[in-house]
């Protein structure tokens, strides 16, 4: 009913306004029609009068021209109106000459009449009037210069003090006034306004006052204005009081006579502040903003009502905005907002306030976003606070767009990283957006709020707003790209708060909006069920299980089964309790039942199998343990195996210790296979164990197969190569040289393996020699040298055994040279002796160089053996020299010769001794353990017993060989 009444009232007001406007329009039309009628009568009367008089009379011609001009002007008004009322599309097509044809005709007639008059009656004493018409005509046709010229002429031709003279003066004065030639307008107005001839005096005096003012004659300006003001009270004059009240205050102000201004307005019963308001407005229109601000600011002191204060503030706010008076602008905005709250602002004022708060808020926001004050934190915060305040005002004055204001306020704080402040604003924006049904802003605010919440806001903010943020987002975008994730987060948040009803609701919404996301639904379901499981709410748990079983949720079969298991697990809860209590038998029985139950899924089965394995381990039944652990591993995922890795290591170790190598190795390999691609550290352990146990059990094929899988499982050479070496070693030990050679060949393809292959190759070379294939052995040794050289160039580390093997190869060659040296026997004649001795020295030198080179390989065996060889070579040569007795020579010669040889060979002895000492030092310093150590260390001592096996290695196995 109320609404209806309001509607009727609004309609009434609208219709009234429309009627008033229409009536005014019709009134103008009626008056114009009436005027045209009157003018037509006038024309007829002038014509009739002319006829009566029987001759052309200049005064009648003048009158005729005046009437024609007047009618032309009226017609032009009418044509203008018609033109403007034509729809713009049609208007563009109109021919203006055609539109204004009728008025133009009358203008022309008036013009012609006057021109004929002036030509025919050169002495006509009212020529001024005629020129006045021409001037006016020109003015109408916007021929300003022409108009000015004719007004001037009218003035010259008219009698001094005549109406036309004064009118012409006024017209000229107006022209000059409008052009800003105030000196000229002033003189003309002064002359024209001596007599208060007509009602327009006040209006013209107003212009005169302005002319005075512009010429700096403030007192005259004020006097004239005051006189015009007084006369305006007389109904016989045009009432200029409003304009005068407005401008006089400005005059007073400019003349520095504020007190007089106040006195004037008080005397005339006017509100000083109201006048100053008008002045301020006027100054604004004149572009005198500073003066306007001053005036309006002062006017606030004299305000007499809230209405005035509002009007002043409305004017001031735009000035503050224009001149960047931010603080004042903010204060004024506050004041206006307060008035808005009281409902005191008019619609226009509300619009201005809206514009200002919106503009300022946007401006400050922009400054903050563009990081203008990035390094001025205090200013930045103050600006943000100001922007926020503006946004709040915007929300107040534009409640229908409040959501946008709150959103921008949030954005402002977001821009400066104040997320804790931004979040509540976004939240409010969402709330308002929902209220105002603004989906777009709601979406933006929701997004922004979620982003903000992810920016490290404090706990309270998170607690207060995270869930609303998610909920807000989802209400806008229940099926958006990000929505799935948001549902999950919301679900987690609700679960985190243990708000199960809410979480379940999220789950149901998620299901409704993402029916295809079965996995996620499952996870959510699982969490819900876990919760009930953890809290022991069997009823709730059972209900959910039933819902799943009833296919309310599209879960994958595995999960469905898992749920079943869970329920089943609950049924066998006692089994676990028994296990915990040490009732192994009871526990085993329970687990077996679970395992065997046709309703038990794999998950439950593997758990049961594992638990059974554990129980059998504990009872020492290795066979059962192996069987159940094997089943458990088969069923478990790598992660699950990793989880229980220690137990599995225990199982395999237990099997190994019980000398159940095959079971242990097979279980290890199975586990290795399972966890092959996982990052588990245990992978290496199971690999090594399996390999070692395979080798120990001489299961070379299985070892080789295991080694072949290792790279695929991401194991590095640090693990694989020792495996191969173990494999080769065991092959060598088992005399599986064919396989040995095959393995080496396979490994040879990888250069990385070369340093590692040197030593096994040496074993192969020895075996080849042993079986009478010295050529093949040589080839193998040549390869070893190649491996070594390549490794050296590549700066790869060569295992010590490899270095030893290389040293032995080179030592063999060295020994051959020593043998050659020794085989060259000294003999006389003396020249031959000398030649031979020289050759021997050269050879010895070469041998020494080679030996030192071998020693430098780094092989302990090589070092000691090389030094031994060169010591022996030196000593051997010395002994040969000293022991040589030239045949067929005198004893003196022989004596002298031998003495000479002792002396000559002395350096050899010394060299041999030096090498010996060096070797001893190296042995001690580098902790070299070599079979030649004793040669150096035990010289001249009793023989130390040594045990050498056939293969030259030291048997360290306390248990003794098999």
């Amino acid at each position: 009913m109320k609404r209806k009444t309001l509607l009727v009232l609004c309609l009434g007001i609208f219709l009234t306004n429309t009627l008033v406007i229409n009536k005014a329009h019709a009134d103008v039309e009626q008056r114009r029609a009436e005027l045209i009628k009157v003018l037509d009568e006038e024309l007829r009367e002038v014509t009739r009068l002319n006829k009566q008089i029987g001759a052309q009379r200049p005064d009648l011609m003048l009158r005729m021209a005046q009437v024609l001009l007047e009618k032309a002007r009226l017609l032009k008004d009418l044509e203008n109106q018609k033109y403007l009322e034509t729809p713009s599309a049609q208007r563009e097509k109109l021919n203006k000459d055609q539109v204004y044809k009728e008025s133009r005709r009358y203008f022309d007639q008036a013009q012609k009449t006057v021109l004929v008059l002036l030509k025919k009656f050169k002495k006509f004493d009212e020529k001024g009037d005629a020129y006045y018409i021409l001037a006016y005509n020109a003015k109408e046709l916007k021929q300003e210069e022409q108009s000015k010229k004719f007004f001037q002429k009218a003035l010259e031709e008219s009698k001094s003090g005549s109406v036309v003279a004064d009118k012409s003066r006024i017209a000229l004065a107006e022209i000059y006034f409008n052009k800003g030639s105030f000196d000229k307008s002033m003189a003309l107005y002064e002359a024209a306004l001596k007599n208060k001839r007509d009602k327009w005096w006040t209006k013209d005096a107003f212009n005169l006052a302005w002319s005075y003012f512009k010429m700096g004659r403030y007192d005259k300006a004020i006097d004239t204005m005051t006189e015009s003001y007084e006369l305006s009270k007389n109904p016989k004059f045009i009432d200029m009081s409003k304009s005068i009240e407005r401008d006089l205050a400005f005059f007073y102000t400019e003349a520095g006579k504020s007190n007089e201004a106040i006195a004037f307005y008080k005397k005339n019963g006017k509100s000083v502040s109201d006048i100053m308001l008008k002045v301020g407005r006027y100054l604004k229109t004149q572009g005198k903003f500073a003066a306007a601000e001053k005036t309006l600011g002062e006017a606030l002191q004299y305000k007499t009502s809230e209405k005035e204060e509002i009007e002043l503030n409305i004017e001031l706010i735009s000035l503050y905005e224009k001149f960047g008076r931010d603080q004042k602008h903010l204060e004024t905005s506050r004041a206006l907002s307060a008035q808005f709250s009281k409902g005191n602002l008019t619609p226009d004022q509300v619009e201005i306030l809206k514009f200002n708060v919106d503009k300022m808020s946007a401006l400050i926001q922009q400054q903050l976003v563009s990081k203008t004050y990035e390094n001025q934190e205090k200013i930045r915060e103050a600006k943000a606070a100001a922007a926020n305040e503006y946004f709040m005002m915007s929300a107040l004055v534009s409640p229908e767009k409040a959501q946008v204001a709150y959103f921008h306020a949030g954005e402002t704080y977001f821009a400066i990283g104040k997320f804790d402040k931004a979040v509540p604003l976004y939240a409010e924006s969402i709330k308002r957006a929902q209220l105002n049904k603004d989906k777009k802003t709601e979406g933006q605010a929701s997004n922004a709020m979620m982003v903000s919440l992810g920016k490290g806001v404090n706990k309270k903010t998170t607690e207060d707003y995270l869930i609303p943020a998610y909920e807000g987002f989802l209400s806008v975008e229940p099926k958006g790209d990000k929505s799935s994730v948001v549902y999950q987060r919301l679900f987690s948040a609700q679960m985190g708060k243990k708000n199960l009803p809410a979480a379940e609701k999220v789950l149901m919404n998620y299901k409704a909006n993402f029916p295809g996301e079965v996995d996620t639904q499952e996870k959510m379901l699982a969490q819900v069920m876990d919760y009930y499981k953890d809290t022991g709410d069997k009823v709730a748990l059972g209900n959910w299980a039933k819902r799943i079983e009833a296919n309310e949720f599209k879960v994958n079969p595995e999960y469905a089964s898992k749920v079943k298991t869970l329920v089943l697990g609950m049924q066998f809860e006692k089994v676990e309790q028994a296990s915990v209590k040490g009732d192994k038998r009871g526990a085993l029985k329970g687990y077996l039942e679970i395992y065997k139950s046709p309703e038990t899924d794999n998950e439950a089965k593997k758990t049961a199998a594992y638990n059974i394995a554990v129980l059998f381990y504990e009872t020492g039944d290795w066979k059962q343990m192996h069987a159940w652990s094997d089943r458990a591993v088969s069923m478990m995922t790598p992660a699950e195996i990793n989880k229980f890795e220690k137990d599995f290591i225990l199982f395999t170790t237990d099997l190994f210790q019980r000398r159940q190598f095959a079971e242990s190795a097979a279980l290890s390999e199975k586990i290795f296979d399972k966890i092959c691609t996982s990052n588990s550290k245990s992978t290496k352990i199971f690999f090594k164990n399996a390999n070692v146990i395979y080798l120990a059990d001489k299961q070379f094929d299985k070892s080789l197969a295991l080694l072949g899988k290792a790279p695929k499982c991401g194991l590095g050479n640090d693990v694989i190569l020792p495996g191969y070496l173990d494999h080769l070693t065991e092959l060598a030990a088992s005399n599986k040289w064919g396989s040995f050679n095959e393995v080496i060949k396979n490994l040879e393809s990888s250069k990385e393996m070369w340093p590692q292959l040197i030593y096994p190759s040496s074993l192969l070379a020895s075996e080849l020699e042993n079986i009478g294939r010295p050529d093949d052995a040589r080839k193998v040794r040549a390869k070893m040298v190649t491996y070594y050289e390549s490794a050296r160039k590549s700066k790869m580390d060569v295992p010590l055994e490899g270095l030893d093997a290389i040293s032995l190869i080179r030592l063999t060659s060295l020994e051959e040279q020593v043998n050659k040296l020794n085989s060259m026997k000294l003999a006389f004649p003396e020249a031959e002796y000398n030649k031979m001795l020289k050759a021997k020295f050269v050879m010895l030198d070469k041998i020494t160089t080679e030996a030192i080179s071998i020693a430098e390989l780094g092989s302990g065996i090589g070092i000691v053996r090389a030094y031994r060889i060169i010591v022996e070579a030196h000593e051997s040569l010395r002994n040969e020299m000293i022991g040589f007795t030239p045949e067929g020579k005198s004893p003196e010669y022989v004596s002298s010769f031998q003495k000479g040889m002792v002396k000559t060979s002395a350096p050899l002895e010394k060299q041999a001794q030096d090498f010996r000492e060096t070797a001893i030092k190296k042995i001690e310093k580098e902790n070299i353990l070599s079979s030649d150590n004793g040669w150096f260390l035990s010289r001249n001592t009793a023989l130390i017993p040594e045990y050498f096996n056939d293969k030259g290695n030291v048997l360290m196995d306390k248990a003794g060989a098999k």
Binding site: R31, V38, L39, E41, L49
Partner: protein
């Protein structure tokens, strides 16, 4: 100032007629022109004024006068044949005589020429109160003084005129003479308000006009002046009231286009635009066509005074009634005192013809015949000329009235425009007409709201009660 015609009664000179004719014959037979005054005197004795007039005129033109006896003869002749017969003589000839009537003629001529001081000067030589020309001379003198804005003196002379006229009225029982004196007196009565009017003392004039009784022969024409005075007093309702009096059937003869003009003007001043325009249009529709015929008619007569002379008479016999202007004009002239005097003189002149028939056929008779024919012919021409002049005057007045009416209409339209531009009259609620509250009056004035009927005692006292619609 209305022209008045002076006709003096023949003074008794104590000679018998027959003797006079014989004396005249003797003088004529001598053939001495210097004795024409005696000859004229002899003829005057025989009441043969028109016959005598040429002799005395010839004497004046050809001789030095300065003779009281001659002046006396001149007075007698002029008094009988009217001043018009002698006005045609040049001033230098007339100035030869000191006869009061000649002085009067000279003053009149000077007055007409706008030489008011000269006119006063001609009349300065004392004219005795008993002299028949005295009231006329006083009227002329007062008028000259009034025109010269010597109000006090003129008022005094006007009052003297009233007294002298009243005095002379009492001493005569000749009806024509009494009428002449009464008219002259009444002109002197209105001379005072006219002078006041001229000096824009309208309030005083308003009162002074009331001194003229409605019974006066000239009252109808003075009513118009009163209307003007009321107009100047901005008492437009009274103006209109006075003007409406002319609608009374008794004033049918009145022809004054200005009456309509003043009416239109009064409506205009009351801002009753439509009434004013109606008056203008009414005037145009009533007279525009007739005026064309009227002008054509006058033009067709040229300067044939004889025809003009016949017009009034013919009109009285029922002719020229179709053209309203012509008819009204002729009716008005027929009532005009000046015309009546001229015509009366002419009739008297015709009586001389009978008398002349009784004389023996001799040279004198021939000469007198010639003289009489000449004088009467002149008199008839004077009448014709007067009629022509009046008709042309009316024609000019009509044209002027048209012009005035047009200007009034233009003014009304102009004011209406101003109203429209100022938007003051579009939403008026209606016109309240006829409210006595709008009237003003003085103690001497009555007022009657005109209700469409004319009553003799109310004539001239009607007032309208229209509310001004001026904003």
């Amino acid at each position: 100032m209305k022209k008045s015609c002076l006709l003096l009664f023949l003074l008794t000179i104590g000679m018998n007629a027959q003797a006079s004719i014989q004396g005249a014959r003797r003088i004529y037979q001598v053939g001495d022109k210097s004795r024409y005054p005696q000859l004229a005197a002899e003829l005057v004795q025989e009441k043969m004024y028109f016959s005598a007039a040429p002799f005395i005129k010839e004497y004046l033109a050809t001789s030095r006068v300065n003779d009281a006896a001659v002046d006396k003869v001149l007075d007698d002749v002029i008094t009988a044949v009217g001043v018009k017969q002698f006005e045609v003589l040049p001033a230098n000839i007339l100035e030869k005589s000191n006869a009061p009537t000649v002085r009067y003629i000279l003053a009149k001529k000077a007055f007409r020429a706008g030489k008011f001081d000269q006119a006063i000067k001609y009349l300065d030589r004392r004219i005795e109160d008993w002299h028949p020309v005295k009231p006329f001379a006083l009227l002329l003198e007062a008028s000259a003084l009034a025109v010269s804005k010597r109000e006090d003196k003129s008022n005094a002379v006007f009052r003297e005129c009233i007294d002298v006229a009243n005095s002379q009225i009492k001493k005569t029982d000749n009806k024509d003479r009494i009428r002449q004196l009464q008219i002259t007196r009444d002109y002197c009565v209105v001379g005072i308000p006219r002078a006041q009017f001229a000096l824009q003392k309208h309030e005083e004039a308003n009162l002074s006009y009331l001194d003229l009784p409605k019974s006066s022969y000239i009252w109808p024409e003075i009513l118009f002046e009163e209307a003007w005075n009321s107009f100047y007093l901005k008492d437009y309702n009274r103006t209109l009231g006075k003007l409406v009096t002319y609608k009374a059937p008794v004033f049918n003869y009145t022809f004054n286009p200005e009456i309509e003009v003043l009416k239109a003007l009064s409506y205009m001043e009351l801002c009753l635009w439509e009434d004013s325009k109606k008056a203008v249009e009414g005037f145009y529709s009533q007279y525009e066509t007739d005026n064309v015929g009227y002008k054509k008619f006058i033009d067709s007569l040229g300067k044939d005074y004889r025809q003009y002379y016949m017009l009034v008479k013919d009109h009285a016999d029922g002719k020229y009634k179709e053209n309203k202007i012509l008819s009204n004009a002729l009716a008005n002239i027929g009532r005009d005192p000046a015309y009546l005097e001229l015509y009366s003189s002419f009739n008297n002149g015709r009586d001389e013809i009978e008398r002349l028939k009784g004389l023996p056929n001799d040279a004198l008779k021939t000469a007198l015949n010639e003289n009489l024919r000449e004088s009467l012919s002149l008199q008839r021409n004077l009448i014709g000329s007067y009629v022509r002049g009046q008709l042309q005057l009316y024609a000019a007045q009509v044209v002027r009235a048209f012009e005035d009416m047009s200007y009034i209409k233009l003014e009304v339209l102009s004011k209406r425009k101003t109203e429209l531009y100022d938007d003051v009259s579009m939403r008026e609620t209606g016109r309240a007409r006829g409210d006595v509250a709008h009237l003003r009056r003085t103690d001497k004035q009555y007022f009657w709201t005109f209700n469409g009927e004319f009553w003799a005692d109310e004539l001239g006292d009607y007032v309208f009660s229209l509310k001004s619609e001026c904003k």
